[in-house]
Each structure stands twice: as structure tokens, then as C-alpha cells.
């Protein structure tokens, strides 16, 4: 493994040593491009930090420059890790992440400044969290590098599919079933595990574990799902017994919704499963069926649970429920901020994030929308889109089914999560409470997402690296002279 840092799409790693001998034909790694874009991101983030400090009327010092350089250094290390362990990885993904994470750090710091000295009802004083998030970023990048190093080929994951699935399921449901002293209810949701001074959101990691499981499971059982059942309304319905996994996923979703009162995660999880099923089977029937199941579940949940009803009525008319406890205050403040920011924004550091509860987690995009305006908000969404589409492109380009499925799922997961949280913040859909990837404060979310990025980069590296050693072409016999080769039947 050490001999060749270049994983290939086929064959065992190490078979493509020849690349080093024929540099002229070597596919471009584009690592230089990545470094330039990373520097650009670091520049933007430093500028953002300067703006915050200026608008908050704090004295500017060289400290900011150091911070910017430290940030660049952090991502330069990540860049070196990619260069070393996944040189053919997509060059646009890491800079997107760096920009999002950097902007997130600046905004979290900015919210710290706004909340400085705030005393809460229980007597506790606001605790600045920006520095903690910097530590989490560093740990996240370590995890990122470790994933790249110890996972030279993403297909290794498929072998542990069932293990991952079990661990993921337990992790997802654990906070819901554990007693309150280990799994406290915070802001109405029971999704945290408290171990000593640390609070972990296992659901964030479960998301990735379950995606690996589903991708592995669907690839190995793919044929089963494509066997046609009855035709109905022009769609081939799957056979009843093949519906098992879908129903299982649906059951888990409902359990998450009921036990943990975490609507966002259940929606995200179910959406991912549906998309994986669709990609694996290429049949829209699954999506229709799944959406039907989900809508049914959602309607029943809405009828039964007050916390679901609350979210829906807050969404329908936040102003009417402005003064109700647990009502429309938060979403109204988010909309006020966004609208007051308008097209150009109040300016970084010149808005009023302290008026939005949960400004540095679920509602961080509202703060960005207020301070950077529609222009900045749109740019933010486009960065997410570039990130997700580059990931998807890698999935399309990679040659193995597992990679395609996992890559497509990971890319979709990020995009869908953005849709759920930003849609909630901007009142497109009911607010469900979920973090904005790479932006929101929170260690679990950040660490899990860095693993996700590492996996995507690993898949993109497999997609972009030269497939086979480009042997000198003149020595190859013409196609007509070659033997017919028996290719292995796809599993």
C-alpha cells in the first residue's frame, strides 16, 4: 500500500506504479488548482473576519492576520493529506468545505461577540464557543486525514456493511431509548448523549454508517429489487417481500420522529434511503411508494403529536403565533433578519444575530442571510450546490456500483440537509431543527461531515485516477486481433 499512494478503480492498489514512469501521459491531479482555491477561501475568510472586527468596532491587529494564516495552515495540512493519500481527488470539494467551515467559524465568533455577557434565565452566562469550534475543526481535519490514510479504497467499506448498519441503527436510536441523565432532552429533541463533559449527537455519525450499510446492501441485493411485481398505473411495483428494507427504514424514521422528536433527522434519513433505493433500482416506483409512506406517516404524526402540529402552525403563520411559547418567534426573527438584510445585507458584524434563538446552530444561515444579504445567501447556496454536484459527478464517474451508490448518497445527503435547514429557516417548509453542514456550531456534526468529505474525496480519487497504466500504445495489438474476453457477470 505504501508503495503506491494511488488507488485505482480496478484491481488491487499498487498495480499502477507505471504512472510514475511516464509523467507525460499522467492525468492531471489538479492539486495545484486546489491549493490556489484554498488560498482564495482563506483570503475570503480572513476578509470576513476583518469585516466583523471592524463592524463590531474592535481594534484591528496583526492577530487577525495570524488567525487567517493559521486557518490557511490548517487547510494546507488537509491539502497535503489529500496530496499524499488521494492525489486524484476532486479539486473543488475541499475548497468549498474550507470556505463553508471558515465562514461558519467567523459567524460563530461574530455571534459570540453579540451574545457576550448575556445572562440566561437559569443564571448561566453566555459561553463563547468559537474557539471550541476551531478545536473541533482541527479534530475534524485530523479525522479527515486519517480516513484518507486508512481507507485507501472505498470498497473496503462494503465488507463491513452489516456491521456498520447495526452500529448505525443503535447510534441513531440510542438517545431516544436511554434515560434522561445520559440522553437529555435539549430544545425539545432527545438526540444527545452526554458522556462526562462531552455531548455527542450520535445521529450525525449514524447517517454515514447507515448510508454505507444501505449502499452495500443494495449493491449485493440489487437484482432482487429490480424483479418486477405487478404493474400499476404504468409503474412496475416491487414484490411485496422486497419491500422489507423500505418498511424497515420507514419504521426507523417514525421511531426517530416519535422517540426523539427530531423531525429533521427523520426526514433526512428517509430521504437518503429513498434516493439510494432509486439509484440502485432505477425505478421511480420506489420513490412514489416511499413518498406515499412518508406522507402517510407525517399526516399521522401531525394528528397525534403536538410538537409536529406546533411546527406546522409556526410555519403557516409565524406572526400569528409570535407570542406563543414554542411558537413563531424564532422563525419570525429569522425572516425579519433576512428581510432587513435585504439584497446587500447589513454587513458582516452589523446585523442582529442575538435576536434569533439558536443563531449559531440551526439558524446560522439566517444570520448569514441577514449580514451578507441575498447576494451572500445565494452565494452560500451555490457553494453548497457546487460541493454536492462535484460529489455527484464523482459518483457518476466512479466505476464500481458501491462507489456510485455511496457517492450519490453522500452528495445527496449534504444537499438535502441544506434544503431541510435552509428551507426551514426561510419558511419554505416547516422548521425541523437540523444543522447546516460545516457552518453550524457543533462537534458531532462537523466531525461526521469531515468523514463524509473524506469518503467523497476517496470516491472522486478513484474516479479520476488513471484506470490502468497507460502502456505504450503502439505495442498493443489492434482490437480486431484480440481475443474475446469473458467478463465477469455483474454481481
Amino acid at each position: 500500500m505504501k508503495g503506491s499512494p494511488v488507488p485505482t478503480g480496478e484491481g488491487s492498489p499498487g498495480a499502477s506504479v507505471a504512472t510514475s514512469t511516464s509523467p507525460g501521459l499522467r492525468a492531471p491531479t489538479r492539486r495545484g488548482t486546489e491549493l490556489v482555491m484554498l488560498s482564495f477561501a482563506a483570503g475570503l475568510v480572513t476578509l470576513a473576519l476583518i469585516l466583523v472586527e471592524l463592524n463590531q468596532e474592535r481594534s484591528l491587529s496583526l492577530r487577525i492576520l495570524y488567525l487567517g494564516l493559521a486557518y490557511l495552515g490548517l487547510f494546507a495540512c488537509a491539502h497535503l493529506a489529500v496530496r499524499r493519500w488521494a492525489p486524484y481527488a476532486d479539486p473543488a470539494i475541499l475548497p468549498c468545505v474550507a470556505l463553508l467551515n471558515g465562514l461558519g467559524l467567523v459567524v460563530i465568533h461574530r455571534i459570540d461577540l453579540a451574545m457576550e455577557g448575556t445572562v440566561f434565565l437559569d443564571g448561566s452566562v453566555w459561553d463563547p464557543v468559537a474557539f471550541k469550534q476551531v478545536i473541533w475543526t482541527a479534530i475534524g481535519l485530523l479525522l479527515f486525514a486519517a480516513t484518507l490514510k486508512f481507507l485507501p479504497d472505498h470498497r473496503m467499506l462494503a465488507r463491513f456493511g452489516y456491521t456498520f448498519g447495526l452500529v448505525g441503527l443503535v447510534a441513531l436510536l440510542l438517545p431516544g431509548v436511554l434515560p434522561g441523565f445520559i440522553a437529555p432532552t435539549i430544545n425539545g429533541a432527545k438526540i444527545w448523549l452526554r458522556i462526562g463533559p462531552l455531548s455527542i449527537q450520535p445521529g450525525e455519525f449514524a447517517k454515514i454508517l447507515l448510508m454505507v450499510f444501505f449502499a452495500a446492501f443494495l449493491v449485493s441485493k440489487r437484482d432482487l429489487f429490480t424483479v418486477a411485481g405487478r404493474r400499476f398505473l404504468g409503474m412496475d411495483l416491487p414484490r411485496a417481500r422486497d419491500l422489507g428494507p423500505l418498511f424497515a427504514a420507514w419504521g426507523v424514521t417514525v421511531a426517530v420522529m416519535v422517540l426523539q422528536k427530531d423531525l429533521g433527522s427523520s426526514l433526512l434519513f428517509f430521504g437518503i434511503v429513498l434516493v439510494l433505493l432509486y439509484i440502485a433500482t432505477e425505478r421511480a416506483a420506489w420513490v412514489v411508494l416511499g413518498l406515499g409512506l412518508f406522507s402517510g406517516g407525517a399526516v399521522i404524526a401531525w394528528k397525534l403529536f403536538t410538537h409536529v402540529q406546533q411546527r406546522v402552525s409556526n410555519w403557516q403563520d409565524p406572526i400569528a403565533r409570535y407570542e406563543v411559547i414554542g411558537g413563531g418567534y424564532q422563525i419570525s426573527q429569522s425572516l425579519f433578519g433576512l428581510a432587513t438584510g435585504g439584497i446587500g445585507g447589513a454587513g458582516l458584524g452589523a446585523g442582529r444575530p442575538e435576536m434569533i434563538p439558536e443563531a449559531n446552530t440551526d439558524f446560522i444561515t439566517a444570520v448569514i442571510g441577514e449580514e451578507l444579504g441575498f447576494v451572500g445567501f445565494a452565494a452560500l447556496l451555490l457553494i453548497y450546490m457546487v460541493f454536492a454536484l462535484r460529489g455527484l459527478r464523482s459518483a457518476i464517474a466512479v466505476r464500481d456500483s458501491f462507489g456510485k451508490l455511496l457517492g450519490g448518497g453522500l452528495a445527496f445527503a449534504v444537499c438535502f440537509q441544506v434544503f431541510i435547514v435552509v428551507g426551514g429557516v426561510t419558511k419554505l417548509i416547516p422548521m425541523t431543527g437540523i444543522t447546516a453542514p460545516f457552518l453550524s456550531y457543533g462537534g458531532s456534526s462537523l466531525l461526521a461531515n469531515y468523514i463524509l468529505v473524506a469518503l467523497l474525496l476517496r470516491i472522486s480519487a478513484a474516479a479520476r485516477s488513471p484506470q490502468r497504466a497507460p502502456k505504450p500504445k503502439p505495442q498493443q495489438p489492434a482490437i480486431a486481433d484480440q481475443h474475446t474476453v469473458m467478463v465477469e457477470r455483474p454481481k
Partner: protein, 490 residues
């Protein structure tokens, strides 16, 4: 698998496009609705971060000041002599918004007015904080203080408005009970809420309402000057004869229209317009209104400023009205300022000022100058003649009749060496007029030959005289003291 992957890609793009479209709706197209929502304190907070302009009275005394603070709202609005000026300044509150001049001239005071644009840009370039413009009022501090003291000395609920007839400048505008706007401007949200609860409680008697511009009262006998003006315009003169009976029946009804105490207006069958006005005879003015007719009476009232739906001084003013006049009985009652006649103290002062100004109605105004932060004027209010309500000859005739009325009016505090023209009113109100204490009115101007101040005074519910109150006994002394304060101070 690539086909479904591509479709998922499309779905992802659609999701982002939906978010972008929704953001466009919230932040651009529909932004104003959210921005201007009453719950949105961001705009207000931004204003607090800017040094708000001052409000000063005519002699330069600052009545609304700003103080820099150390809390999150950088500037605290402070009001000097708050209750005296509160009806004009209004309040500026983080929680409860703005009122009065704080609202009417908000753009200038907070510095967002277009006329301050050049200064804003230069502030941006030089890096200084943008500052709001200042508002200089027409109010005369001495007259305002006397008017306030007069009303509050006996705990009256009511209002005084004083206008300079020649220009329309408002010299005093008082409304009682008043309040201290400092309590609402406090940065302590709790103190604000306490003050607000107390001011809006039932027992507080609506201190936040500026009675001068917002309260509508039956005009009572003060409307007789409008009826007389209509009759004069109709070709009558001060010697025209009207019935002198103590009581008449309203046309086509069995309802009595009595004079005050049912007293006949004179010894004979008829009495002159001059005497009828001086003695405030209801029977004569009922008949006079009947002769003039509803449409001419209404036209005359409108010439005096009734029914002006969008009068801004720049505070918004409730339009005064004669009400519907369905039949002759209603017309006769309207002739003595009862029935559905509703008038603001400001409008009644405008009536007095218009007669004083030879029949020319001037637009009443409170703001004499708008000043930039550098105290350079960016807009002086020029006196504006709205229309000629009466010919100067008729105005002079009416003035002479009002001089007789003043001579005939009792009450204390008659002005020495200054001739006053006035009309009192004792306005009945409520469902049972004879059991409700009447409102006491007094409108006047002085000196009669060369008027420099016109006033309207109302004291609600008879002041300290209860059922026996009259305009002459309760309101006239206040009006005279106010005019005296102005005339003596020159």
C-alpha cells in the same frame, strides 16, 4: 446507475433553485412586509445606534435630547419637561414604537431622510457615525407652560391650542392628563412595560392621546361663529333679526330647542344676530342655520377646515365634521353645535385664527425649521394660506360680534387693556345630556383689532364645576391666561 444519478443531480439543483427562489421572495420581493412588521425591532435598533436629532422649541430650548449610554442601545432619548410637551413630541420606545413628532419626523430625526443624503455619504467617507437632523418647533415655551399649568392646576382633563393667526404657527398645544415620555424611552424594558401598563390602564384616562388633534368633541355654542359666518356670506348682517323666544319646537317635531335656562333672548319678538351671538341664543341660531340651509352651512364649515381628511401639521389630525344632517330638525341642532357635530380643539383654534386673520385660513403647523446635524437649515416652513373662508368685511363684522360676546361672558381673568374677541361653548354630550357634565369651550383671539394669538380651550366634563359648568366660567379663564402670557411676553 448513471441515469438515476443524473436525475438525482437534477433534483438537487431543483432544491437549491427552490431555496434561491424562496430567498428572493423573502429578502427582495416581499422584504418590506417583514421589515416593517411591528414585531421587527431591527430597524428601530439600528436607529438607536445612530445619534438621533433633537427637537427644540422656537427659542431653541431643547425638549427632546439624546444621551450616550453604555448599554447595547447606544443612545437614550431624554425629554426635558416631558409632560408639558409630550402631546407634541410623542415618545420613542424600543418596545412600543413611536408617536407624535417622533413618528411624524422620524426619517429626519433618525437621519434616513433623503435631504440628509449628502451628509450621510460624507459621514460614510470620513468614517464618522451618521447623525440625525434636528426639528425646530413653532411652540412658544412660555405659552406652552402657562397652558399646561392652567389645565393641570385644577386637575382638568382637556386641551389648549394656540395659533398665530397671521401665519398658522402653533404657539401652544397641550393635552391633559399628560405623561412623561422618558418612562417609555427608557432602555430598561421592564420599566418601559410598567409605564406602558400604567398609561394604558382604564384609570389613566388616555394620557397617550393627544386630545388637541385626536379627540373629537361636540362643538357646542362655539360653532355659532361658523353659523354666523355662513349667514353673513348668505347676505345677512349683524342687525338681521331672528327669533328671541326662550324655547322653540324643532321643525316637524315636538322636541324643544331651549335657550340656556329657557331664557328669552331679548324683550321683543326678535333679536339681532349680534345680540344672539353675544348671549349665545340657541333658538336664534337654530333658526339661522335653518335659513342658511345644510349645504351652505357645510360649505362654510369646510372653508374653515372641517372634513380635511389628510391634514398634517405634521402630526395627523382627526377630521372635524358637522355630521349627517338628514332633516331640518337636525339642521337646527347642528346650528348650535350639537347633534352630530364633532370638532378637534385644533380645528376650533383654526376657526378662531381664521376669523382673526380677516377670513384667510392659514395652514396650521408645528415645525418651523428642519435642521441638518450641522444646524444648517434644510427646510423652513413657509406660512401657507389654504383658502379664504370669509370676506374681510364679514370677518370684521364677526369679530365685532365676538367682542360683544367676550364682554357678555363671565369668568375670571379678563385681560386688562387688551380687547378680546371670543365665543364660549357649553357642549352637552352623552346619551342623557342633562345628567352628563358638559364640556366647557372657549375660543378667542387678541388683540381683537390686530390679532396675534388665537386660542381654543376645552375642559372635559365641566372641570371643577360639574353640571353647572359653562364655557365662560371654566374654560375662559384658562384661555385668557394663555393669551395674556403671550401678549405680555412680547
Amino acid at each position: 446507475m448513471n441515469t438515476p444519478l443524473r436525475r438525482v443531480g437534477m433534483a438537487m439543483m431543483v432544491m437549491i433553485l427552490l431555496l434561491l427562489g424562496n430567498a428572493t421572495w423573502v429578502q427582495v420581493i416581499n422584504a418590506d412586509e417583514w421589515r416593517k412588521n411591528a414585531y421587527n425591532k431591527r430597524v428601530l435598533l439600528d436607529e438607536y445606534a445612530r445619534k438621533r436629532g433633537l427637537i427644540t422649541v422656537a427659542d431653541g430650548t431643547v425638549i427632546a435630547d439624546v444621551k450616550e449610554t453604555t448599554d447595547r442601545l447606544r443612545f437614550l432619548r431624554t425629554y426635558n419637561n416631558g409632560p408639558v410637551y409630550a402631546p407634541v413630541t410623542g415618545y420613542l420606545s424600543v418596545t412600543y414604537g413611536t408617536s407624535g413628532m417622533e413618528r411624524a419626523e422620524n426619517d429626519l430625526l433618525n437621519g434616513s431622510d433623503d435631504r440628509l443624503l449628502a451628509r450621510r455619504i460624507s459621514a460614510l467617507i470620513t468614517g464618522r457615525d451618521p447623525v440625525g437632523g434636528n426639528v425646530q418647533l413653532t411652540l412658544d415655551s412660555k405659552v406652552q407652560q402657562v397652558a399646561y399649568d392652567q389645565l393641570t392646576a385644577k386637575g382638568f382633563t382637556g386641551s389648549v391650542v394656540a395659533i398665530k393667526p397671521e401665519t398658522g404657527e402653533i404657539l401652544a398645544m397641550v393635552s391633559t392628563p399628560s405623561y412623561d415620555p422618558n418612562a417609555l424611552a427608557s432602555h430598561d424594558v421592564k420599566a418601559q412595560a410598567e409605564a406602558w401598563t400604567q398609561l394604558t390602564s382604564k384609570d389613566a384616562n388616555d394620557p397617550l392621546v393627544n386630545r388637541a388633534t385626536q379627540a373629537l368633541y361636540p362643538a357646542g355654542s362655539t360653532l355659532k361663529v361658523v353659523v354666523a359666518a355662513a349667514a353673513l356670506a348668505d347676505g345677512k348682517n349683524k342687525d338681521s333679526q331672528y327669533t328671541a323666544k326662550g324655547t322653540v319646537k324643532l321643525p316637524n317635531t315636538q322636541t324643544d330647542l331651549p335657550n340656556f335656562n329657557g331664557t328669552p333672548c331679548g324683550p321683543g319678538e326678535t333679536v339681532s344676530m349680534e345680540t344672539a351671538l353675544a348671549k349665545s341664543c340657541n333658538t336664534a341660531f337654530g333658526e339661522m342655520a335653518g335659513q342658511v340651509g345644510a349645504s351652505k352651512l357645510r360649505r362654510q364649515a369646510e372653508k374653515f377646515g372641517f372634513n380635511d381628511q389628510d391634514l398634517r401639521i405634521p402630526l395627523a389630525v382627526e377630521p372635524s365634521t358637522l355630521g349627517a344632517i338628514p332633516d331640518d330638525a337636525a339642521l337646527w341642532q347642528t346650528g348650535i353645535g350639537q347633534r352630530d357635530v364633532l370638532i378637534t380643539p385644533l380645528e376650533n383654534a383654526v376657526v378662531a385664527a381664521t376669523i382673526a386673520n380677516g377670513g384667510k385660513r392659514m395652514h396650521p403647523y408645528l415645525v418651523s425649521k428642519l435642521l441638518g446635524p450641522d444646524l444648517k437649515s434644510i427646510g423652513d416652513t413657509e406660512p401657507d394660506e389654504v383658502e379664504t373662508a370669509m370676506s374681510s368685511a364679514n370677518a370684521a363684522a364677526l369679530r365685532d360680534m365676538m367682542i360683544q360676546s367676550e364682554i357678555n361672558t363671565g369668568g375670571e381673568g379678563r385681560l386688562q387693556n387688551v380687547q378680546v374677541a371670543s365665543k364660549t361653548g357649553t357642549a352637552e354630550h352623552g346619551a342623557k345630556p342633562l345628567e352628563n357634565k358638559p364640556h366647557a369651550w372657549y375660543i378667542a383671539f387678541a388683540p381683537a383689532q390686530k390679532p396675534e394669538i388665537a386660542i381654543a380651550v376645552i375642559v372635559e366634563d365641566g372641570g371643577d364645576r360639574g353640571l353647572g359648568a359653562t364655557g365662560g366660567k371654566v374654560a375662559a379663564p384658562i384661555g385668557r391666561a394663555v393669551m395674556n402670557a403671550y401678549l405680555a411676553g412680547r
